[in-house]
Symmetry: C2
Subunit: 223 residues, 2 copies
């Protein structure tokens, strides 16, 4: 039983990787930078995307694919910002897979710069699935605690950037951002670390600048 | 492929259910009330158990099985409260299974009243696995947002109690506890709702009283 389970899982991941590679090729050929956002439920992924939409408006064009087990809520929040959004409801599944993104890709307008994918809120399973993104962000909100990287290492190991969110709450919490960052960096040396409060705006400028530079690198073939 | 995956998953859940039924029978025969705690990472499961340890001390005997992907951290925190604790590290797996609990059960002293199981921090996958518990608590911390029950329905549907945690942070957050409770109750009518701040102590007395009454019911055969 155990051997069978492992083989099925390995087949699934290999197929997923192939589909993800096709998506990555397709998006790069269109000059679109794709970012996959991973975190626990309620770490602030949608709120971060809303804040990015406000800041990029009239300057950079973005679109969002939202992943959730149930409800259209997050896509509706993004659409209210004037940003095109598609909701994938997994109906129980704990992560997005590349084939789900592939189904939506034809609807994504050619004339966009960034495609953000908000994964299902889960710090474990989504880490194993490449969605064809160029960058993976893992979010960790201050109320979750600074001890999380070592307890959920795969999400941090697979990420390009760590976004410490809800920094406005730090004064009310037993949370040490330096400890969280150091622990994540011990798992993934070279991880870029940002501290943001999407509600207050702190740290958002640095994140926007990083994204714009990454887009320029992609388009000049230096990605 | 898809059919095969589903069959393997169904077999796994059926086997898990059998093992869980044996664990439930065994624990009830020893007069031990077992509680399975489910939530996102960082919702306050370990902090709630620490607060329960402080309150039950010298009165009720408890033990804790801790589930995490990596690290012994949570078991160490519980042991510092003078409570016996066993750490199960799943090494990547996103949930506990009954067979993992079964392996530890022989080490749990006969003379305890409560066995708490802290599941892996994940609001999705653990909901499908019966661990042989008498009561299932789902925790939702105020910073996660009041929109979570409808987005992660299975965890709330399968629970006996909803514990809204970190209530001391509500003044600093866009969080409406009435909305969170109403949404959870629309998924699972009859769900018991508690509001607690384990750090400040608010609401802990009501939770302790509920647990003690549940233990009395179990021992008088009215469970």
């Amino acid at each position: 039983m155990s051997t069978k389970t492992i083989r099925v899982q390995a087949d699934l991941l290999a197929t997923n990787k192939q589909v993800a590679a096709e998506i990555r090729r397709e998006l790069r050929s269109r000059g679109i930078l794709c970012v996959n956002l991973l975190s626990s439920p309620g770490s602030g992924k949608t709120t971060l995307l809303e804040a990015l939409a406000d800041r990029l408006k009239d300057r950079i064009r973005m679109a969002v694919i939202e992943g959730d087990i149930e409800t259209e809520r997050d896509a509706e929040r993004i659409r209210r910002k004037g940003v095109p959004a598609w909701q994938i409801t997994t109906g129980g599944a704990c992560h997005l897979e590349a084939r789900m993104i592939g189904k939506v890709l034809g609807d994504v307008p050619a004339a966009i710069d960034f495609l953000f994918i908000e994964n299902v809120g889960n710090l474990v399973c989504p880490a194993s699935y490449d969605l064809g993104e160029d960058l993976r962000f893992v979010l960790l909100s201050s109320p979750e605690g600074d001890d999380k990287p070592a307890k959920y290492p795969q999400a941090f190991l697979s990420a390009d950037c760590l976004i410490l969110t809800k920094t406005d709450l730090i004064p009310y919490l037993p949370f040490d951002p330096a400890r969280a960052a150091a622990e994540a960096l011990s798992i993934k040396p070279g991880l870029r670390v940002f501290m943001v409060s999407a509600l207050c705006g702190d740290g958002m400028d640095a994140l926007v600048e990083y994204l714009v530079e990454a887009l320029e690198r992609l388009r000049s073939g230096r990605a």
